[in-house]
Symmetry: C2
Subunit: 443 residues, 2 copies
């Protein structure tokens, strides 16, 4: 579905037909950026670039697509012929996947004949928005977990199969250790995890039978102990350890309800008292970065967290104010003035300055032709419709980048609370002069 | 991706392997329901059943899937052989798509050999959750719009392509008139809508040139007037009408920013003053059911609304507390007691009572074997792995059902504010006795 050329807002196609009729075919540049961050986010962790570029290379209208468009009666034959041979032949510049971005910063830029660049709007926004929304949420959970293990359990309540699978990829980029989503394991090579549900326990006459049976098939498993009474469940695991002796290899127990802090403490005490120090404690159930931080800071003896729905839907901020805006046409820098929706004109670059330890100290958005201090963040990703070799990255490389980028965030930005002041993103003098001049001309 | 058998949480597969090893193969019944509604919802509009049933009929593990599972080292050869010939052979009973459901009511029930019924958990939850979340949100917007036109503009910021496409379907079921998503138009026959973006205006040297050009290609279009200054944009449309005379067939103008109420009023006045009473006003920009209601109640002369991100992500309640819970195994009714997560045992039915005008007055959840007053809501949807004919519905029929179901809601439930008291859902005496007896036995 992601590669389907009809995954597009109708108005992209009507505008394309109008350009076609008018013979408007100059080069346009569009910027992808987030106007303002949600109150619950101090930064974005960008994701989705790799799969997007692959999709752009393969973008084609099928004969089925064209037949459908014809039946709508909206389009002329001449324009449908244009679509039949449509290929994306333009350039993409972008921050590498797994980079940090802030409000207002273009992190992806498309330069192409206007008909192509316009066409990409819906697909680029839809795909990068999903991955970046979920990676940015996951990054907060990773920071809160402070080194504890993290498993993505979101699939059952994500917004569909694609959200659960792109999400697993995004969470893994952000630093999660595994996912319950088997398809994501197959597609992206992400480690998969998961053992048993309450239904497995319920279905057995006795809870201890369920544990014994499961451990027979999967000796180093994690047993879910809260189906009826959590601490009684832990006792049954201890009984099983006594029964099996050296054959007992159960790796952990999982708590999925109740007061996780006190239950984890009591569980640890019981396990340790039985000489089962090596049996780990996993916790799940309505977790998010705030609950994880509370448990970690409170010293709860939890080795790993399973985080699901609140992560997988980015529940507190399910969308970003992401936009794809025309910045230049035919070498003419452009902006729009709509109330609260004004944009920055021209072909831009983002420079990032770091201190001696690599920690971020400030960004500047300027015109690409400028030479400002710091490291330019937008780099070539596609040229003439083909990915440049450096943009075809191993997922592990993206994950490593994200780890070091997150480590380089200032403390106030890493915090879960709103950074005050927010991270500094300046606009260069040349860019603001250009903007002011164009605003003047339009008024 | 939706039909991919690996779209599953790993633990379903490990439990299945354990059942296989233990020779546990009895019939299990699982209920799908929402434990508690979000504070922002008084009811659910169920959606997603049709595509789900189709996916269940086609569920197969490919040789690629099996090879991947083998590489994980988790599964034995014997179990992989079972998966190779896996087919869903069970029964599904469900409320018809486009029905109203309330918290605690099973609206879909799977009865099948336990290995199959367990396998379905992730897919059933993931797909029905997405569609029902979005249909339930859209239903609120439809009620708020009180007959005004509604277009779904969500695609660019939904959680991926699938969410945007399933979403368009769900919104249409709920009563939206069209979608901007061309793929949804092709797949589901939903009317598509959309005309121009700000970029089209920006790209022309003069705003009036953009309007003139677009109206030449699409004479009965809607022109976007707020790129620079909304009321100046309206003046330019009026100028164009004067210029084109009887060739002027522009259907409407769209406002996408600023104070929509006052801009719509001023726009209407300008248009009417120029004799353009038939030119409609469309509004968009950060709309949701609350903003739509405010504009409608305030008498803003807006003919139709384009609703996007807040709808497409169900922003105020991006997930439901949906669960898929074991209710019976091998003719033995079951429940679980986990804190705040207790379930109702046995094979159940939901009876709905209406007054003389068809308006809902109360529901009762009871045991399916009971004969209670009201109309049973759960009906056969699949038998032995095949859809029953009555469950293969035209989307228009689903949409019609939703319309009449929404019309039958009590006023307090139709309201955007939380219904106080909430709609009455009782539990039958037999069901509560059974539950109490099982709780007693477990304690």
């Amino acid at each position: 579905m992601v590669r389907d050329a009809l995954l597009v807002d109708l108005y992209e196609l009507t505008m394309m037909e109008a350009y076609h009729h008018q013979g408007i075919s100059g080069t346009a540049t569009f910027d992808l950026f987030v106007r303002a961050l949600p109150d619950e986010r101090n930064f974005l962790l960008t994701a989705g670039l790799g799969p997007l570029l692959e999709a752009l290379e393969g973008l084609r209208f099928t004969s089925d697509d064209l037949s459908y468009l014809e039946t709508t009666g909206i389009f002329g034959k001449g324009f449908l012929d244009v679509l039949e041979t449509f290929r994306f032949s333009g350039d993409v510049d972008a921050m590498a996947e797994g980079s940090i971005a802030f409000a207002g910063e273009p992190f992806l830029r498309v330069t192409a004949p206007v008909i192509e660049a316009q066409f990409l709007e819906t697909l680029v926004m839809n795909q990068v928005h999903l991955a970046t929304t979920l990676a940015s949420k996951a990054a907060r959970v990773v920071l809160a977990a402070d080194g504890r293990g993290l498993a993505d359990f979101g699939l059952r309540r994500t917004h569909g199969a694609e959200a659960g699978t792109s999400g697993a990829r995004a969470h893994w980029i952000a630093g999660f250790d595994s996912t319950s989503n088997v398809l994501a394991g197959k597609l992206y090579g992400i480690p998969i995890s998961g053992t048993m549900a309450h239904s497995f326990v319920q279905l057995h006459e006795e809870e201890e039978d369920a544990f014994r049976s499961f451990a027979r098939v999967f000796p180093d498993t994690v047993l879910l102990v809260d189906t009826y009474d959590t601490l009684r469940g832990v006792d049954l695991v201890i009984d099983l350890a006594a029964e099996l002796g050296s054959d007992f290899r159960v790796r952990g127990v999982r708590l999925d309800s109740g007061d996780l802090a006190s239950l984890a403490a009591a569980t640890r005490e019981k396990l340790d008292g039985a000489g089962l120090e090596r049996v780990q404690i996993f916790a799940s159930g309505n977790l998010d970065e705030w609950r994880v931080r509370e448990l970690v800071r409170g010293g709860a003896p939890i080795d790993a967290f399973g985080v699901g729905t609140r992560l997988g839907t980015s529940q507190d901020a399910p969308n970003l104010d992401i936009v794809y805006k025309l910045a230049q046409y035919d070498e003419r820098p452009l902006l729009k003035l709509s109330t609260d929706k004004a944009t920055l004109p021209g072909i831009k670059q983002v420079w990032r300055r770091r201190d001696g330890e690599g920690r971020l100290v400030g960004d500047t958005i300027g015109l690409a032709a400028e030479d400002l201090s710091g490291e330019p963040q937008l780099r070539p990703a596609m040229r003439s419709g083909r990915r440049v070799p450096s943009a075809v990255e191993d997922l592990q490389a993206v994950r490593s980048r994200a780890r070091s980028e997150l480590a380089g965030l200032p403390e106030s930005v890493r915090a879960l609370e709103p950074a005050d002041p927010p991270y500094e993103v300046a606009i260069s003098d040349s860019l603001s002069s250009l903007r002011d001049r164009l605003v003047e001309e339009l008024r």
